[in-house]
């Protein structure tokens, strides 16, 4: 049949180094992202250990600040984003009936930039003067004043950005050009839709971050005065450029997880997704709105009243399409014949914790209230509820959902449920008390704190260790399923619907060598 598929299949290490296969590249992305998760996780334990009690005991304040900074950068750019690009690589060609991604060699390139960029980022910690310590938002003047470690970080961000842009270009080209005959855009699985829109956000936002980073580099070394009032510049300018990237970035992190929820909830409710078209439009409007809300991160920098009001209202507006999505997920379950296998637990847990994070987001969106919350632990609680609670929950949901398809083996369902419940307990134990800490006034990014914050901080530290240790179960389950186990059927889940379930488990090397027909 497929005449031009006299493909070479190198084995051993060169299979992974030179691969042009979307599944191999997806696996690389996922493995890389979990290695980064371990690195970032260790850093979070350093942070939480120092915060076990007031006073300075474990690490130097400057090192503590490096940990908060690099933890965030590693988790966002090294774990969450690459993990979902890995899912996109694995699943989009299989979901839309394509043989592979549209641009396979570029696909390999976008992955292999990552380990090099991560090397630069980690190396920064070992430089004279240490790594970046001014927060992942790299605000000047701190980021302009820091030592060579900051340059390592800035160049690492440049490379990570190149990787994201190339990966996104590939995803858009794949979704727009590789769909099986008959699969119109409005018949496409939601996961492909959310990734199409996410890829657009990435291509629009990452170059702006590159611009901000470039201005930092020239301010540091080439004598420009973008962010220096002594030369007519303005440090607040950086914040505008950064958050013009930064807010779309948070939707880059969460929209693909929404796509995962929209695949899994129908499967385990045994009903089609409620309100498919409104889901598409809600996703698109979230993406559009995400470009006009950025200054809600900057309410306290001294903007004019008109600016404060505009960004407050536009931010609150996002709650509308977000509400549409939650409504649709709930309505999908309404009168469904539901079961609660591990992927469903993660998806439902994710919707629930996301809702908590959405509500704290609304609180933060109210300008006068945010004057109190800004730069406190309340913000830390908020974004962990959305990023861990929705993005990472979505990631685990996706992995449990598709692992049998990828490996051809069923994983251990009981252990999967344990993983979910222990993580959920640990996660809430870690981050729920941080709401109260923030409301009571404990600042974020600080190694020491006043005595009255001790108790909640203890819960939080206990929760952090509990959560991270629970992840060992996940690694055990995943590795077990890769090695063997009960054979999975092609459909795997009784209620599963979509092209990926028509392929064998595990699927063939070129997913759809012959395009399927979609009615």
């Amino acid at each position: 049949m497929s005449a031009d598929h006299h493909a070479e299949h190198p084995t051993g290490i060169s299979r992974w180094l030179f691969t042009t296969n979307h599944k191999d590249i997806g696996t690389l992305y996922l493995v890389f992202s979990f290695i980064m998760a371990i690195v970032g996780g260790v850093m979070s334990l350093v942070i939480r250990s120092e915060l076990w009690q007031p006073g300075l005991q474990l690490v130097e304040p400057n090192f503590f600040n490096q940990m908060t900074t690099v933890h965030a950068l590693v988790m966002i750019f090294g774990f969450a984003m690459p993990a979902f690009v890995g899912l996109a690589n694995w699943m989009i060609p299989m979901m839309i009936g394509a043989p592979d991604m549209a641009l396979p060699r570029m696909n390999n390139w976008s992955f292999w930039i990552l380990p090099f960029a991560a090397t630069l980022l980690i190396l920064s910690l070992f430089m004279p003067g240490g790594g970046p310590a001014g927060g992942w938002t790299i605000y000047p003047p701190l980021s302009v004043q820091g030592g060579i470690g900051v340059d390592f970080t800035l160049l690492a961000i440049h490379m990570l950005g190149i990787s994201s842009i190339l990966g996104s270009i590939n995803i858009i080209a794949t979704v727009l050009n590789m769909r099986a005959p008959g699969m119109t855009l409005m018949k496409m699985p939601m996961f492909a839709w959310t990734w199409l829109i996410t890829a657009f956000l990435l291509i629009a936002a990452m170059p702006v971050l590159a611009g901000a980073v470039t201005m930092l580099i020239t301010d540091r070394h080439f004598g420009t005065h973008f962010f220096d009032a002594a030369g007519g510049g303005d440090p607040v300018l950086f914040q505008h450029v950064f958050w013009f990237f930064g807010h779309p970035e948070v939707y880059i992190l969460v929209l693909p997880a929404f796509g995962v929820f929209s695949q899994i909830i129908p499967t385990f409710s045994r009903k089609p997704l409620f309100g498919y078209a409104s889901m598409v439009y809600a996703t698109a409007s979230i993406a559009f709105l995400s470009f006009i809300v950025w200054a809600h991160h900057m309410y306290t920098v001294g903007m004019p009243m008109a600016g404060e009001l505009f960004f407050m209202y536009s931010t609150m507006l996002i709650a509308v399409p977000t509400g549409v999505k939650i409504f649709n997920w709930v309505s999908t379950m309404w009168r469904g014949s539901m079961t609660f296998e591990t992927p469903m637990l993660w998806a439902l847990g994710g919707v629930f914790t996301f809702a908590v994070g959405g509500f704290s987001g609304l609180m933060l969106a109210i300008t006068p209230a945010d004057f109190q919350y800004q730069d406190t632990y309340f913000v830390v609680a908020h974004f962990h509820y959305v990023i861990f609670g929705a993005t990472i929950y979505g990631l685990f949901a996706a992995i449990y959902y598709w692992l049998p398809k990828w490996t051809g083996h069923l994983y251990n369902e009981t252990l999967g449920k344990w993983h979910f419940w222990l993580t959920t307990i640990g996660f809430n134990l870690t981050f729920f008390p941080q709401h109260f800490l923030g409301l009571a006034g404990m600042p974020r990014r600080i190694p020491d704190y006043a005595l009255q914050f001790t108790e909640f901080n203890r819960w939080s530290t206990i929760g952090a260790f509990f959560t991270i240790i629970s992840q060992l179960i996940f690694f055990y389950i995943a590795i077990r399923a890769m090695k063997g186990g009960a054979k999975a059927t092609d459909q795997v889940w009784e209620g599963a619907d979509g092209l990926e379930w028509t392929l064998s488990s595990p699927p063939p090397y070129h997913s759809f060598a012959v395009a399927p027909k979609v009615k």
């Binding site: 005449a3 299979r15 549209a102 641009l103 090099f116 004598g223 607040v236």
Partner: protein, 291 residues
């Protein structure tokens, strides 16, 4: 005519991407070291650049070979088109960051900083500004003193350069028409003219920079005005240079007999890119030089 190929071409595993990434790593590392005055820096940069250039020649060479041998069907061609279009969009957004910075400083922050004496008594916040003392123009024919600079006018070289780039947009379109009606001479002449115009633009831009540095007292370090001026025009000039090199490659391929009226993605990609740098220039001319 291209052999009709019903299958989407899936390339074999390739060593170029990962080696290019290693080159990128060496380039970035070298740049970091260079900025921090570590002597190994330039060598790393050199090695990185050499790797990247070599790999681009091999990688693109392979793609060109595949393309000319009819390996790509229409669907592959569309993938390339989407890829290039979205790449250009990412470049647009990169420039948007710098334009946004320019607008923000001009429209808002310069005035705000000057509006009260909190920061600096008598801060002159009018545009163009390079800091507290504001603009101190350099009288013609004198050597710029400390803190003196003149902004770049619009109606000398920049206006000529606008004409040059606009005409180069026309010549590349004319070349495209030549390709579409299988008129190779028109294709080659059009491309040649475009390359020549591009090089003229770059030369004039370099001349303008020398003028700025030696006679206007205007440098990259001239406050936020100098920063926005040189970063915007500098990145644009870099893109024109890349575009010119790409056009030269296309010219070489046209001479070597590549491209057909119905199969010439490479040509179009470069033409799109060229129009993109043209449009960015119009924005620069209006907002950086003129207004």
């Amino acid at each position: 005519m291209s052999t009709a190929n019903s299958h989407y071409y899936l390339p074999n595993p390739s060593p170029w991407p990962i080696i290019t990434s290693a080159g990128l790593f060496a380039l970035a590392l070298g740049f970091i070291l260079l900025m921090n005055n570590v002597s190994a820096g330039p060598w790393f940069m050199l090695a990185g650049t050499a790797i990247i250039v070599y790999m681009m020649i091999r990688w693109f060479g392979q793609v060109i070979g595949e393309s000319e041998s009819g390996t790509y069907n229409a669907q592959v061609d569309r993938s390339f088109r989407w890829g290039m279009a979205w790449f250009i969009f990412s470049e647009v957004m990169f420039f948007a960051a710098f334009f946004g910075a320019l607008f923000y400083v001009r429209q808002f922050s310069a005035q705000w900083i000057g509006a009260d004496d909190l920061l600096w008594p008598g801060y002159d916040g009018t545009w163009p500004t390079a800091g507290p003392k504001g603009l101190i123009p350099v009288p013609a024919g004198t050597i710029p003193g400390a803190n003196q600079f003149s902004p770049m006018g619009a109606w000398g070289i920049p206006a000529i350069n606008t004409l040059i780039l606009l005409s180069s947009g026309a010549t590349v379109t004319w070349a495209h028409w030549g390709l579409l009606k299988d008129n190779r001479a028109q294709l080659i002449t059009g491309l040649f003219l475009t390359v020549a115009l591009g090089m003229t633009f770059i030369a004039l831009q370099a001349f303008e920079y020398v003028h700025a540095y030696t006679e206007l007292g205007l440098t990259l370090k001239t406050g936020v005005y100098g920063a926005t001026f040189f970063m915007l025009t500098g990145f644009h000039g870099f893109h024109v240079t890349m575009g010119t090199i790409m056009l030269m490659v296309i010219l070489g391929r046209a001479i070597a007999g590549h491209f057909r009226a119905d199969h010439h993605f490479g040509f179009e990609a470069v033409a799109w890119y060229w129009h993109f740098v043209d449009v960015v220039w119009l924005g620069l001319f209006i907002f950086v030089y003129w207004l």
